[in-house]
């Protein structure tokens, strides 16, 4: 298969060798003389000749590598692991290595271009999926002379396709026209498979990189971003390329997406990592495509080559925004909690299950001045040094019991303060238990309740004070509802009455009515009830004096006063009642009055005695003289001899002294002569009222009931008010005194006025024994009473008569007496 070309080449080779040898020899010859001496100009031509000769020899030698070598080459080709081929410029195979034909099980002739078709014969062995691509390429190469290089599957003789790499290079003639193609077909099945596996792996990796729920990126050693994974791209809304052309500030563009607050640190940390090669880890906020910043946890590690220089940085950004939000919220809530714990106006502490204090809040320290260490004893137990000594033992006991049993702890004690004072503090602690019920921690809170406690104490003290005040007031205090129902009675009143308020309930009566019915003296009951009714109806203060039954059944005079307590709207909310036992006072006054009366009587008696003494003296003196003289006279006359002269003198003295005595008597009579006082028109009813008031206490003391029947519209009478008062007073007293022996309930003193024919008639009737001897009643110095001058009625009569009226006594002995007197009105009646 030696071609014409080969032959021509052989010829050319031979001629070249020969010419070259000649030229080379000639060159040497020319050179030699030049090298003998220093003849400068010539050697270049000799060199040129020599060189040309050598080149020619070499070229010819090379061309001569001979056809002999062709066979050698074919052997080499045939034995190489692969197939070789050659083709003419039309693609018709000029040579196909035997191994290839064996592999294909085809002949070389059928592999070339098919006649009457654009297709190639090797179509039958190339995988149909590859054929069009390969054929197109081959046609292109045939047309252009481009290097042919394809990979495609070829069917083995047994029908199994294997991957091959088919490469071919054109050979051109000296005109540059393609003379033919030489190529090799090398099996790359394993390589292909490895490649496929690699591809698969890469695909998987890429998939991984793209799909991993994280943002991945790579940076060049200088920090320039060179890769973003899809998520990163999606996040940023930009690809790495969008950041800019390489080396034109991609990093800066990326930094622009970092939150302004974080960018400085990111730069610093990144610069540090890039400089040192240490791994980078930072949390920062990165702007998302939509402009929202999200927290990213970013990490990057340097990848180094064998020499240890950094090839690139692999980085990862993990979106931790949600986590950060949670953490933030957590941190926030934690700080809130801490702030709460520190600022809550209470001292908060925790302790281990055994009671060892584990923490105190800031306020605890601020308030007590004690730190955690200060409240921890040397043995780890709770130190009580900050508690007032009086409470330490109790607190220690309580705390020990709680820590031992898990019972909630509760104590009130005086707790020390920073300034050394102690204040009331309430401490409570509860155990926190795990799911098994074991105590993990004690949580305690101490609250300063000093103001509360002291206020309560003050309040209690005040209440106690008020209570004691009310209870110990030497007065009986009573509080009643607006309707008068008693709701509270002081100790004094309860003790007086001898029963508790509650005992009145269930009697069917109201408390008030029950109290009044049970306690108030029957004679006063109607008046008291009327008084109460009036006050309750009108809201006017109540004041009344009456007798009230004491627990022992004795009636005491009391003065009861009540005043309404009103709310802001003026509505009565309560009646406050004070009840004073004035029995002593009343009795004292009565006794005083009695004493006064007896004093008056005594002074009356004294003045009587005085008067009588004076009268006696006045009368006795002349009498004494008369007696002495008459006895002397008698002796003078009975003497021997009788001394008549002296007897005469003596007798004359007797006469004189007797006249003197008579004069004394008439002087005394003159002394008793009465002269009427000033008179003015007066209403007798008014005078009677006045006297009744004057005698009110006496009337009550003597338990006499006064029944007044006073005629209205009586005309006025001209009278001496004081004298007539004296008359009424005298007659009333007489009446009351006359009833001393009468049973209490029947002591009624009636006073009646009415107009009569002789003017006004006043009658005073008692229920006493009456007058036994009416005529003697008017005699001066006549009296049936133990005390008194016996002048009363006589004086009364003389007063009345001086006024032109008459005084008379009516009623028989045993059935009361009526003393009546008349007073002329001055019109028609002669005084």
């Amino acid at each position: 298969m030696i071609s014409a070309y080969a032959r021509r080449r052989a010829v050319f080779m031979f001629a070249g060798c020969a010419l070259g040898a000649i030229l080379a020899v000639a060159g040497v010859v020319l050179l030699l003389p030049a090298m003998d001496g220093p003849r400068a100009p010539v050697p270049w031509a000799a060199f040129l000749v020599l060189a040309a000769g050598l080149v020619l020899v070499a070229a010819a030698g090379a061309m001569a590598v001979p056809d002999a070598e062709a066979a050698q080459a074919r052997r080499i080709i045939e034995s190489m692991p692969g197939h070789a081929w050659s083709a003419d410029p039309n693609g018709r195979f000029t040579y196909v290595s035997a191994s290839a034909l064996r592999f294909l099980g085809e002949r070389a002739e059928v592999l070339g271009p098919e006649p009457d078709s654009d297709e190639f014969g090797w179509r039958r062995v190339v995988h149909p999926d590859d054929y069009d691509r390969v054929a197109a390429r081959w046609r292109h190469c045939l047309a252009t002379g481009d290097r042919y290089d394809t990979e495609h599957r070829i069917r083995r003789a047994d029908g199994v396709y294997q991957w091959f790499r088919n490469s071919g290079l054109p050979i051109r003639d000296r005109h540059g026209r393609i003379a033919g193609w030489y190529g090799t077909t090398i099996e790359i099945e394993e390589q292909k498979q490895a490649e496929a596996a690699l591809l698969e792996r890469e695909r998987e990796l890429t998939h991984l990189v793209e799909m991993v729920p994280s943002h991945l990126w790579r940076l060049a050693p200088d920090g320039e971003p060179i890769f973003f994974n899809r998520r990163m791209t999606e996040y940023l809304g930009r690809t790495v390329e969008d950041l800019g052309e390489p080396r034109t500030g991609r990093l800066e563009a990326l930094m622009a997406a970092v939150h302004p607050d974080d960018v400085a640190e990111v730069r610093a940390r990144l610069a540090a990592s890039l400089g040192s090669g240490d791994s980078f880890a930072l949390r920062y906020r990165l702007r998302r495509g939509d402009g929202a910043f999200r927290w990213m946890s970013s990490r990057a590690e340097a990848m180094r080559d064998r020499e240890g220089s950094i090839v690139q940085w692999y980085g990862l950004c993990h979106d931790i925004d949600d986590q950060m939000q949670v953490e933030d919220a957590l941190r926030h809530s934690e700080s809130q909690l801490r702030r709460l714990i520190d600022t809550v106006p209470a001292m908060i502490w925790t302790a281990a299950p055994n009671g060892t204090p584990t923490s105190v809040n800031r306020r605890f320290n601020e308030v007590t001045g004690a730190s955690l260490g200060d409240i921890t004893a040397a043995d780890g137990s709770l130190s009580l040094s900050f508690i007032h000594p009086d409470f330490r033992s109790e607190t220690a006991r309580t705390a020990a019991r709680s820590f031992a049993t898990g019972e909630p702890y509760h104590m009130r004690y005086l707790q020390g303060r920073r300034d050394g004072s102690h204040r009331w503090t309430e401490t409570r602690a509860e155990p926190f238990r795990d799911e098994n019920g074991a105590i993990r921690q004690w949580y305690g809170v101490s609250v300063d309740i000093h103001d509360l406690v002291t206020a309560q104490e003050r309040l209690r003290e005040r209440e106690r004070f008020l209570w004691q005040l009310v209870e110990t007031l030497p007065a009986m205090v009573d509080c009643a509802a607006p309707d008068g129902e008693p709701v509270y009675r002081s100790q004094q009143l309860r003790a007086f009455l001898g029963y508790e308020l509650e005992q009145l309930d269930g009697t069917g009566k109201s408390r008030l009515a029950a109290t009044l019915d049970a306690g108030v003296h029957a004679n006063d009951l109607a008046m008291v009830k009327a008084c109460y009714a009036h006050s309750l109806a009108t809201g006017e203060p109540y004041a009344c004096r009456h007798r009230l039954r004491r627990f022992d059944g004795e009636y005491h005079w009391v003065e009861t006063r009540a005043a309404p307590m009103r709310n802001l709207d003026g509505v009565i909310v309560q009646w406050n009642v004070i009840c004073l036992d004035i029995d002593g006072e009343v009795r004292t006054r009565e006794m005083l009055r009695a004493a006064q009366e007896s004093l008056a009587r005594a002074s009356q008696a004294a003045s009587m005695a005085e008067l009588s003494a004076s009268i006696a003296h006045e009368v006795n003196q002349p009498l004494a003289a008369i007696v002495a003289n008459s006895q002397a006279c008698h002796r003078w006359l009975s003497g021997e001899p009788p001394n008549v002269e002296r007897a005469k003198v003596t007798a004359a003295r007797i006469t004189r002294d007797a006249n003197s005595a008579a004069e004394v008597v008439s002087r005394i009579r003159a002394l008793f002569r009465r002269t009427p006082g000033e008179r003015a028109p007066e209403n007798i009813n008014r005078i009677i009222d006045e006297v009744c008031r004057l005698l009110a206490e006496e009337v009550a003391a003597k338990e006499v009931r006064v029944r007044l029947e006073l005629a209205p519209d009586l005309p006025c009478a001209p009278l001496d008010r004081v004298q007539i008062q004296q008359v009424v007073l005298n007659l009333m007293r007489n009446g009351m005194e006359a009833m001393e022996g009468v049973p209490k309930g029947e002591r009624v003193l009636g006073i009646r006025t009415r107009p009569g024919p002789d003017g006004i008639r006043v009658e005073i009737c008692d229920a006493g024994a009456g007058f036994a001897d009416i005529e003697r009643a008017f005699e001066p110095f006549f009296t049936t009473k133990r005390s008194g001058m016996g002048m009363g009625l006589a004086i009364c009569r003389s007063i009345v008569e001086a006024h032109g009226g008459r005084l008379s006594i009516e009623g028989a002995a045993g059935c009361g007496a009526t003393v009546a007197f008349t007073l002329p009105t001055g019109e028609g009646d002669a005084p």
Partner: protein
């Protein structure tokens, strides 16, 4: 009956009563002097005779009782009170202070005369006792100072020897003094001298006394 060496003083503000009493008492033979007031009585010189004072309780200047209380018992004769109206407390008080009687006007003749007699009798005894004492004092005054020293020793019952030792003199001297004292005091015996010393309130120097006290 009565003689002129007795006198009755009447103090009463009422002239009629004064006249009446003096008339009656004179009819019984007594010499009578009357005074209108207590001050008048006290101021006037009165004859030194056995006397009686009839005093009205009610006087213009001073009550008779007050007057009695003011005077020492020796300064006035026994008093017979006369009053218009007597009362028990004043009577008791007057009697306690030594009044002879308390009579109510008008006074009965017999009661008045009996009271006056009683009073004058008392006054007589009193005057006698006083004159005896005056005599003793006169005699006592004649003793020399030395005899004044010896007398207490003698009446205290000391023996001559003891008295001599007491005064630092001889027994003979004491004996002499004692004799002189007995003479001057006109004592007939030692017991009489002791009684005289007692009335003169001569202090007894020793408890050991001879005779009865």
């Amino acid at each position: 009956m009565s003689n002129g060496d007795e006198i009755v003083f009447v103090v009463d503000d009422d002239a009629r009563v004064r006249l009446g009493f003096s008339e009656l008492l004179e009819s019984w033979g007594w010499r009578v002097e009357t005074f209108a007031t207590a001050a008048d009585y006290a101021a006037r010189a009165r004859p030194d005779l056995a006397a009686c004072l009839i005093l009205d309780v009610r006087l213009p200047d001073i009550s008779g009782l007050e007057f009695q209380a003011q005077q020492s018992a020796d300064a006035h004769p026994p008093i017979v009170f006369v009053t218009g109206h007597g009362d028990i407390p004043s009577t008791v008080r007057a009697m306690r202070l030594g009044a002879v009687d308390f009579l109510t006007k008008p006074v009965g003749e017999s009661a008045l005369v009996a009271a006056v007699r009683d009073a004058i009798g008392r006054d007589r005894l009193r005057r006698q006792a006083r004159s005896e004492r005056d005599e003793l004092e006169r005699r006592f005054a004649t003793l020399t100072p030395r005899e004044h020293d010896v007398l207490p020793l003698v009446v205290s019952g000391l023996l001559n020897k003891q008295a001599a030792a007491e005064l630092g003199v001889s027994q003979v001297t004491i004996e002499m003094h004692r004799r002189r004292i007995m003479q001057k005091m006109q004592a007939s015996s030692l017991p009489e001298l002791v009684r005289m010393a007692e009335r003169l309130h001569v202090p007894v120097r020793h408890s050991r006394r001879s005779g009865h006290s």
